[in-house]
């Protein structure tokens, strides 16, 4: 885990603005924070240098672009066969992210499949061929993004 960095209330205000819209204009952020555009720019640059801001992400409606089935898959199995499972998942879908977990699964992956059959096949293969104890496939319908819900607190006043 990386070290905590020092940020204040104004930094948080800027971060919140950019979470709401990564394309927010400097002058609009400046106005809200009661600062100059230069001051906001400098703070954003500092937050990048500190490793707080890592980039920007765009969220599309994937189904309108032909990616029909966003899903998550949780697998409970022996850790040493994890790479084999990941390879199988990657072949049959587009993996967004996969991580080892602590909890009811050994690892979980978020993915997008083109066809429902791919998800079903995936489940069967992992279950039968790789000796997993349990495979949970969940197809997402109607995801809601609630990024404002994140709590950010200043580490200095």
């Amino acid at each position: 885990m990386s070290a905590k960095v020092e940020i204040d209330e104004i930094d948080i205000k800027i971060l919140r603005k950019l979470i709401r819209d990564s394309r927010a204009k400097l002058k609009d952020i400046a106005k809200d924070c009661g600062l100059s555009s230069t001051a906001v720019f400098n703070r954003i640059e500092r937050l990048k240098a500190q490793g707080v801001i890592k980039g920007a992400a765009l969220f599309f409606n994937m189904s309108q672009l032909g990616f029909m089935y966003p899903a998550s898959i949780g697998v409970d199995m022996d850790t040493h066969r994890r790479d084999e499972v990941l390879e199988i998942i990657s072949k049959r879908s587009n993996v967004i992210i996969s991580s080892e977990t602590a909890g009811s699964n050994t690892f979980r992956a978020f993915l997008i499949a083109k066809r429902l059959k791919d998800l079903e096949d995936l489940k069967q293969i992992i279950r039968k061929q790789l000796g997993s104890r349990k495979v949970t496939v969940s197809i997402w319908s109607d995801p809601q993004l609630l990024f404002d819900n994140i709590e950010l607190e200043p580490s200095r006043s």
Binding site: M1, K4, S22, V52, Q64, S138, S141, F147, S155
Partner: protein, 156 residues
């Protein structure tokens, strides 16, 4: 969605913060056209949201929890979702089809905060069962994967 829309989307996927004037130059249309098409894609829901990516480990977080919930018989899923929306740090909620009914992803600071969250969720009358997994990812709201996935599948 026409070809120009797709070109704009591709450039935005590469860099969500790219200036419209630069996109316009690359696509060969006016900045005003880019602006209009961007707005239109937002209105019809092709573009859902654009956020910066924050490394939450720098701000005192240790990971993410995924909650999978089975709704109690006789209760609407909407009741569960509505209650989840009000729990701090839950930043994605979706209905799911499978062994569970609702899934939520939350940023977590420490072990007690996971325990509290799971306790809160299990107390809800509309929740029959809640399972939790913890991962040490702290890239909020996601890694770059989302954009890259789109690019990988739209090679021209």
């Amino acid at each position: 969605m026409d070809n120009t829309d797709l070109e704009i989307l591709k450039l935005l996927a590469k860099n969500p913060q790219e200036r419209f004037s630069r996109i316009a130059k690359k696509v060969g249309v006016s900045p005003r056209t880019v602006q209009k098409k961007f707005q239109r894609m937002k209105e019809v829901g092709v573009i859902l949201h654009s956020s910066i990516i924050i490394d939450l480990s720098k701000l005192g977080y240790q990971g993410e929890a995924t909650l999978r919930i089975v709704n109690a018989p006789g209760y609407d899923k909407a009741a569960t979702i509505d209650a989840l929306r009000r729990i701090p740090n839950i930043f994605l909620i979706t209905e799911i089809i499978g062994d569970f009914d609702v899934m939520a992803i939350a940023a977590v600071k420490d072990y007690p905060s996971i325990v509290n969250m799971v306790y809160t969720v299990r107390q809800l009358v509309s929740v029959e069962k809640a399972e939790v997994d913890f991962v040490t990812d702290t890239q909020f709201p996601a890694t770059k994967g989302f954009n890259q996935l789109f690019l990988e599948n739209n090679q021209s």
